[in-house]
């Protein structure tokens, strides 16, 4: 009844091509944003903020990055962890070398640095396709982690290899390291991620985004109609790595508060890939849904397992978690291979007709 676009006429192409052509969508998104900014920080306790909302936001950003590459441009990548590590270490070097540099600028510069690395490792994509490329991107994953582990320069020669992120301020509030208050961390992340997501949404609707999708759907045909694969593929790698790099920086500076290469092993790559696939390939909304799902799933499994029988041994619980995680992934793929974003879309279609069956 409420969700109906009857009577909302478009008189310009501009209005027709808007991000949210339906008024209810626009109001809904603004309401969610307002809720996230004004209500959540004061209603949620520190546990919810620190262990659920902050990682969800960081992962959403990484998932948007990978979605641009895999979902929009069709280049399967398993190097996400490596690129996140790039972002984290670039941010650390920048933040320690120029202590007065604005934190936002630090992250943006680290993202730019990561996108240069991403383009370098994206070069083989011009020649290699499909799963061959996926395995080739693993070279990035292992090589980058090795570089950060091996050379003390990246950690300013800290003997332990685990270094804590320096405290930095934005608008007078400390947002990084363990000194920061969870609310300021969360608010900073919400604003940053919302802006970057908006940019991403607009990018994929633009000329460059359309060329990515053409390459994804059939690269040879795209080439014939005049899209340059070199530009399209490498720009996808650059933009994707930019987002992933920023996510890596946020992970180290805001979520864990420590910069270490161990946090960005290949598991991380798979985790982000899961978010993208379960959330929905080629959907910005899907990146958020996937991140929420993958972050919450292990926590929910753990809590329910312990609620059923608190005497389970730790090893058994973790093994069972693995099993259930795998089984649920397969289940979701079978039920809805197009991801949670598609479920949401189906729900919206149903809502338009509700309460009438046709």
């Amino acid at each position: 009844m409420l969700y109906r676009e009857t009577g909302q006429f478009k008189t310009t192409y501009r209005a027709d091509q808007a991000i949210f052509p339906i008024l209810q969508d626009k109001i809904g998104v603004l309401a969610i944003l307002a809720f996230a900014v004004f209500v959540v920080p004061f209603a949620a306790d520190n546990y919810l903020l620190e262990t659920i909302l902050v990682p969800v936001l960081v992962f959403s950003l990484a998932a948007i990055g990978l979605n641009i590459l895999t979902g929009y441009c069709g280049q399967l990548s398993l190097g996400t962890g490596g690129f996140m590590a790039c972002g984290a270490f670039f941010s650390y070097k920048l933040a320690t070398a120029f202590p007065d540099l604005n934190l936002i600028l630090v992250f943006l510069l680290a993202g730019l640095g990561t996108s240069v690395v991403g383009v370098l490792f994206g070069l083989p994509s011009l020649r290699i396709k499909g799963f061959y490329l996926a395995v080739a991107t693993l070279a990035a994953q292992f090589f980058l982690i090795w570089v950060f582990n091996k050379f003390g320069w990246w950690t300013n020669d800290s003997p332990s290899g685990v270094i804590s992120a320096p405290p930095r301020e934005v608008l007078g509030f400390v947002v990084t390291s363990s000194e920061a208050h969870p609310i300021s961390k969360y608010l900073f992340l919400v604003v940053l991620v919302a802006v970057l997501a908006l940019v991403a949404k607009n990018l994929v609707r633009s000329r460059i985004g359309r060329s990515w999708m053409a390459i994804r759907d059939m690269d040879i045909a795209a080439e014939i109609i005049g899209i340059r694969p070199l530009v399209a593929k490498l720009s996808a790698f650059a933009v994707s790595s930019f987002y992933i790099g920023i996510a890596g920086g946020l992970w180290a500076f805001i979520y864990t508060g420590s910069v270490e290469a161990l946090a960005f092993q290949i598991d991380r790559s798979f985790q982000v890939l899961f978010m993208v696939i379960l959330g929905g390939l080629g959907s910005i909304l899907g990146s958020f849904l996937g991140a929420i799902f993958i972050v919450l799933l292990p926590i929910a499994l753990n809590v329910t397992m312990l609620a059923i029988d608190p005497t389970f041994s730790v090893a058994l619980v973790s093994d069972m978690e693995f099993m259930l995680f795998g089984a649920l992934i397969i289940f979701f793929l079978i039920v809805e291979p197009h991801g949670l974003a598609r479920l949401w879309q189906i729900g919206k279609e149903k809502l338009r007709l509700w309460p009438f069956p046709y």
Binding site: P124, I128, Y132, M320, M323, L324, P337
Partner: protein
């Protein structure tokens, strides 16, 4: 492959090994690498090649499944772990509960049975509902299988390191032609060769093998001449399970059966893209190249730039090869149409 073909490859391999040795010798002469010694080089090469056979064993399982169903099966590593865990677990179980020391051949046969059950379960529960989905979805599903099988194996049999003893010498070494080689690795290489030969005969001369090749060539055409696709997939996953078991025994006998076995799949991936996803000889040759390249690079160049380059060297090597042959060394030529 024709004998002449094989001979060419053998001679080529020997020449390459000598050439790369010469290159390192040259580098040592101008002082870029600090240490080079021909007999050490040959030892490293032999160890690398034998290690490569072990990689091939894992890669073989990947190739079988990719050939028959076009699925990039990430779960192969966890199948290796699961097979080895099951075999050790069965042996321990019988010894503890019935007081019988199960001969490893019997345990092997029982485990093969278990792997066939696993294959049937995977076909029924995962592959059948996902028929006709894009490859990336099937790939994600195999990662799901990876997690499930990993957790299942360890929940069932425990997650501590187990010793798999099938009466093979682990530490002894022989030195034919003055090159020290580990006996265990030699046996493993022999087993690997026997397995490949067996699979070759199976694919070439049996009825099922012919059906498998038909399915690999073209699903629809195979279906239309009456080959039951679902049965074939079950068989392929079973064979891959048996290959995983052999690989698990070989790796597990050497390093103990533990979680890290599941991660050797990551080492098999560069082997796979180097040799080509669809070629059994490719898996072997790829394994040899990766094993050799990795050891030589680690022992000579790796020392100069800080060591532990084993983690990524295989991937970079494979990447370089791919730039020249995007379908791998032996992969079928990729023909694309619009």
């Amino acid at each position: 492959m024709k004998p002449l073909h094989i001979l060419t490859w053998l001679v080529g391999a020997l020449v390459t090994i000598f050439a790369i040795g010469g290159l390192h010798w040259g580098l040592a002469q101008i002082g870029w690498i600090s240490f080079f010694d021909w007999s050490f080089y040959f030892e490293v090469s032999a160890a690398g090649l034998l290690q490569g056979v072990m990689y091939s064993l894992v890669a073989l399982g990947f190739v079988l499944i990719f050939k028959a169903s076009g699925i990039f099966n990430f779960a192969q590593g966890s199948l290796v772990l699961f097979a080895a865990l099951t075999m050790v677990g069965l042996m321990e179980l019988f010894e503890r509960d019935f007081g019988i020391r199960l001969h490893w051949v019997l345990a092997f046969i029982l485990t093969v049975g278990v792997m066939v059950l696993v294959a049937i379960a995977i076909e029924r529960l995962v592959l059948r509902p996902l028929v006709n989905q894009p490859p990336i979805i099937l790939f994600m599903a195999t990662i799901g299988i990876f997690y499930f099988v990993d957790g299942f194996g360890q929940a069932l049999w425990g997650s501590d390191v187990k010793v798999l003893d099938i009466g093979m010498p682990i530490a002894s070494a022989v030195s034919p032609l003055g090159v020290r080689m580990n006996v265990y690795d030699l046996i493993a290489a022999g087993v690997g060769a026997a397995l490949v030969a067996g699979l070759g005969v199976f694919f070439q001369y049996t009825r099922i093998g012919r059906a498998l090749r038909a399915v690999a060539d073209d699903h629809q055409a195979a279906l239309s001449v009456g080959i039951p696709l679902k049965t074939i997939w079950t068989i392929v996953w079973s064979v891959a399970g048996v290959v995983a078991l052999v690989a698990g025994i070989m790796w597990g006998g050497k390093a103990g059966v533990q979680f890290s076995l599941a991660l050797i799949a990551l080492k098999a991936l560069p082997v796979l893209i180097l040799g080509g996803f669809t070629s059994i000889p490719g898996a072997i040759v790829g394994g040899l190249i990766i094993g050799y390249g990795e050891q030589v690079a680690e022992n000579f160049i790796g020392l100069e730039i800080g060591g532990a380059i084993q983690d990524w060297f295989a991937y970079v090597l494979a990447l370089v090869f791919l730039l020249f042959r995007p379908q791998g060394l032996f992969g079928e030529r990729i023909i694309e149409r619009v």
